[in-house]
Amino acid sequence: MSVAAVKETKTDKIFLTCNYIYLTIALLLVLYPLLYIVSASISDPKLVASGEMWLFPKGITFEGYKMVFQNDKIWMGYGNTILYTVIGTCVNLIVTIPAAYALSRKDFVGRNFFMGMFMVTMFIGGGLVPGYLLIKNLGLVNSMWALILPGAASIWNIIVSRTFFASTIPRELQEAAQIDGCTNMRLFIKIVLPLSAPIIAVMALFYGVGHWNSYFSALIYLNDESKFPLQMILRQILVLNEISADTAGAINASVAEAMNNKAEVAALLKYGVIIVSTLPVIAIYPFLQRYFVQGVMIGSVKG
């Protein structure tokens, strides 16, 4: 990049040094707990819970990973999650990006009406029961679309994208194109979209991660276990019901033994499962980072 090629002045050097120090501190602060998770995933759960394992793995065991890799349900959930994430994110982008662009145009009559209409939904919602009835009446219960359509767009993301379009797409570009007789559609597809790779990447990431982590709509709308996404499966395995006075009357030896067994499995799997289930979303990030380099898009079009 041309900016970087310029020789740094002395103040800039000091500034840069401080910057590197700052980032290194940030790196270390964040890194430690992450290393802790990695170490915990291959340590004896007892030593993790008692605080004896604090950085390097202790009582090394790969049982946790073995159990993850042997669990068919986890892999089935993985497959489902990938499917829902890919399709869901595509739907999200198709709904969000054009709408955000239209809303960013000052000469779009009705812009405020649409904004107002969308924003009301930030505050007023019908709640769980009518939402469920709607999905049921649309015949979507127990289908993948029940996880995708009700969340096809988020007003938050539309607004953020709109702000991006409004502040980065040069207005003369539009005017010039329109003078050339270019239709709005052509303008959007041929000029705006190519300029918008950063925001599309961000939106894909935001929505994609949302799908990746979501479990509630799956809980509500899916009945068939073979359709459960990864997070549902993980919850089944990891979340422990609290034994308290309320449930006590219901506990007998066989229930207690099973619960204890489950708690031990959960302790063993807890950290490994995090790594296995989030590695793909973490691994994808470095590839998206190239869209976040200053000037990369504008420069490429103008140049």
Partner: protein
């Protein structure tokens, strides 16, 4: 580049001309309606469609009678909430946690994003960026487990460090005065890297020619951040600030429930945890809808106020 954004703004103030011009403008941009149509129908069907459910806030929802058939009770659920022994505590805790979070958690991603932007693309940049982003994916249950382990007065690493410096261990988990800090800082740890993404995208829209021109003029990196980069992301900052104000009572219950205990309750109990607990006794759809509606009214009012302020003082606002 930025000037373009600026000149674009005053359109809002342009007086509406005669009707035929309006129709002309609509006709000229008919394709924009096509672009917004999917979103329009989505909100109409999936948000306005179920919206009639809001009435159960004023009803006693009885499943077998359905939403329309349940009897009206007026403001009973609201009064029950306002009359709750803990109402003011809940409101205060919710607000203070939210504002604390905003004060600490809002500027940090901006600073981090600006810092990322200054360093050359390479292994170090990629690593820091990816590492800071990763904590976002740790589930709440595990996150809370780690917090409790790290902060344990007897075995936690943080208290070991405190003791190593010669101080008494601190009961972070049970001292009410520490709860909010613990909650906010762990949130910062988890969310800052993730929060930079949107600013990085906004920064990528800056025209390099602006920087080149500034360098020729002898501007230092610091000056260029102040005069080029920050103005470039200011619209995003403003909009996010407004949106955050619109979610001020929306402190979620999941993490708090996991960190809550009888001793820190006085500073950890918020509206959402209260509703969650009420629902444990029996499914109280009406009550939780009523509380939700109360939250919405406050949130919406704040959002409108902040948006008005932003409108008056800057060129960026939601409408």
């Amino acid at each position: 580049m930025q000037q373009n954004g600026v000149t674009a703004m005053p359109v809002q103030g342009v007086p509406l001309k005669k009707k035929n011009t309006l129709w002309k403008r609509i006709a000229q941009n008919w394709e924009l309606y096509l672009l917004i149509a999917p979103a329009f129908f989505y909100f109409l069907i999936f948000h306005y469609g179920p919206m009639y459910g809001i009435q159960i806030a004023f009803k006693n929802f009885i499943p077998a009678k359905g939403i329309w058939g349940s009897p009206w009770v007026g403001f009973d659920h609201f009064t029950r909430f306002f009359d709750s022994y803990y109402f003011w505590d809940l409101l205060w805790n919710t607000l203070s946690i939210s504002l604390y979070e905003l004060a600490v958690g809002f500027p940090l991603p901006i600073i981090l994003a600006l810092a990322f932007n200054e360093i050359r693309t390479g292994f170090f940049k990629k690593s820091v960026q990816t590492v800071t982003y990763a904590p976002h994916f740790i589930s709440m249950v595990v996150m809370a487990g780690i917090i409790i382990t790290f902060l344990s007065p007897s075995t936690g690493i943080i208290n070991h460090m405190i003791q190593w410096f010669g101080f008494e261990p601190i009961n972070f988990l049970t001292e009410p005065k520490w709860f909010k800090t613990m909650y906010v800082l762990s949130g910062v740890w988890q969310g800052t890297g993730w929060g930079t993404i949107i600013y990085l995208a906004a920064l990528s829209g800056v025209d390099p020619q602006l920087h080149e021109a500034a360098i020729v003029d002898g501007a230092s990196r610091w000056q260029r951040i102040l005069n080029i980069n920050i103005p470039a992301i200011l619209p995003t900052i403003t909009i996010l600030m407004i949106l955050n104000m619109g979610g001020i009572l929306g402190v979620g219950y999941e993490k708090i429930l996991l960190l809550q205990n009888s001793l820190n309750m006085s500073s950890s109990d918020v509206i959402s945890t209260f509703v969650y607990r009420s629902g444990l006794v029996d499914a109280q759809y009406s009550f939780s809808t009523a509380v939700g509606l109360f939250n919405s009214v406050i949130n919406a009012a704040l959002l409108i106020i902040v948006n008005q302020i932003a409108r008056k003082t800057s060129e960026n606002s939601l409408w």
